[in-house]
């Protein structure tokens, strides 16, 4: 996967990679969570790249800036879909949902991981983040 840009944050997904995966963390009591936070005793693990949609919604108004990083105005803002994707036997991950219309979204539909440019930094470089897309 040749993609310009850099991850929005480190340790969220494996990068650079031809087959990136989200990075979860297993704590000292064996509990798996996402993301890996680098806490004492926490071990990073690669998560499954596919799962099923557990729930979803659409963000239809411009979130407060900060914390939202987008620099668009209210008028420019494009609603985006988000949801939880259940990775079988692991965790449900909160994620942007891409390549789909809200009307297409169904709880239980198969989804897979993808990496997308989400914002652009001051130098014009793409900032990459994970998302899930429907399995065609």
């Amino acid at each position: 996967m040749a993609m310009e840009g850099k991850p929005l944050a480190d340790n969220v997904f494996t990068w650079p990679s031809d087959d990136p995966a989200l990075i979860g963390g297993v704590d000292a009591r064996g509990r798996l969570r996402f993301p890996f936070m680098g806490r004492p005793g926490e071990q990073p693990v690669e998560l499954a790249r596919a799962g099923v949609l557990w729930s979803w919604t659409v963000q239809r108004f411009l979130p407060k800036q900060p914390p939202y990083l987008g620099r668009e105005t209210k008028a420019e803002f494009q609603p985006f879909a988000l949801g939880y994707v259940e990775l079988p036997g692991q965790v449900r991950v909160e994620t942007r949902l891409v390549d789909c219309e809200p009307a297409d979204l169904r709880i239980g539909m198969p989804m897979r991981l993808t990496i997308r440019p989400l914002f652009r930094d001051e130098q014009g470089q793409d900032l990459l983040m994970y998302a899930f897309q429907p399995v065609a």
């Binding site: 557990w54 729930s55 659409v58 239809r60 108004f61 900060p66 985006f80 988000l82």
Partner: protein, 381 residues
Amino acid sequence: MSDVAIVGIGIHPFGRTPDRTGLEQGAFAVRQALGDAGITWGDVQFAYGGSQDGGNADTMVEELGLTGLQFINVANGCATGGSALISAYGAIRSGQYDLGLVVGFDKHEQGSFRVRPADWGLPEWYGEVGFALTTQFFAMKIQRYMALHGITDDALIRVAEKAFTNGALNPTAWRRRALSYAEIAQSTMISDPLRQYMFCSPGEGAVALILASPKKAAQLTRHPVWLKAAAMRTRGAGSFEVFSPSLSVEDGEGATPIAARGAFAMAGIGPEDIDIAQLQDTESGAEIMHMAENGFCRDGEQEKWLREGWTRLDGRLPVNTDGGCLANGEPIGASGLRQVYETVLQLRGDAGVRQVPKRVRTGYTHVYGAPGVSAVTILAR
């Protein structure tokens, strides 16, 4: 025989009051509660109070009088009012005091709550990508619930319609126009499936309650309302809570059913014995889910309950008789105590044009908030 009575209630109108600080609104409610109880500030032996954004509750002694009383500030998110009430309940039941005050107030900036991810132990990117919004959590929780239990948009609209109908009958409510079914159904989609008029807004307001031991209550009133139970609980493992980058695949129990069970056990009665209920309705979906989580119906039955009007003022279990959070807004520190204030009014038969027509002997109040806390009270006359 119950051990703690509510002998005085006071409220500062909810909504926006630009010329009064949160603390001034709190003091306003306290004076009204003192008048209602027929006592003076000098009679009050102790106080518990709190607010999230309105200032330190104990500062109001400056305005109410420097009597030297014990005044403890409480900060417990959406359970602040409930936690203050439980603390006062304990202070009286222990025998330490026999007359005290509970006060909750708030004053929030307009619009959705601004969240600092670090305050919640979250990475910065969580807010940067546009996830740190409570509205999304509410939407995703009800979205899944609707799919699993056959709840439709009709039920969401009916909850809001009822809230604004009741709010229009409440002189201290913020939103006092009875919005029509069509207006709600056509309002702007905020976060699917929830629309603009299905959400409450952060706001302002204050509530004060005077609590007394049975002996003291007998001296003050012939019609006390008894606090039969007050329970505050935190979430179980695996519950779905706001601001969660990931969830366990094992479903767990949220704070509400745990608090409900605790309160019912304390009161020695069950959901079938409750005449009216005030259930946290930060948005329409929350009221629907909380009907089941508190034990008043089974998952999915809400569709029929709402269609049949069973939660309206003249229904079998009137819910959010004062318009709830939807019509009153959500000043976090005051919200839970507003529910108690309304329940006392209804139990006394003093709710005016929104008085429930059936005989009201018991009432139930419930709040739920981040990061998985719930406070429940059960009152009876």
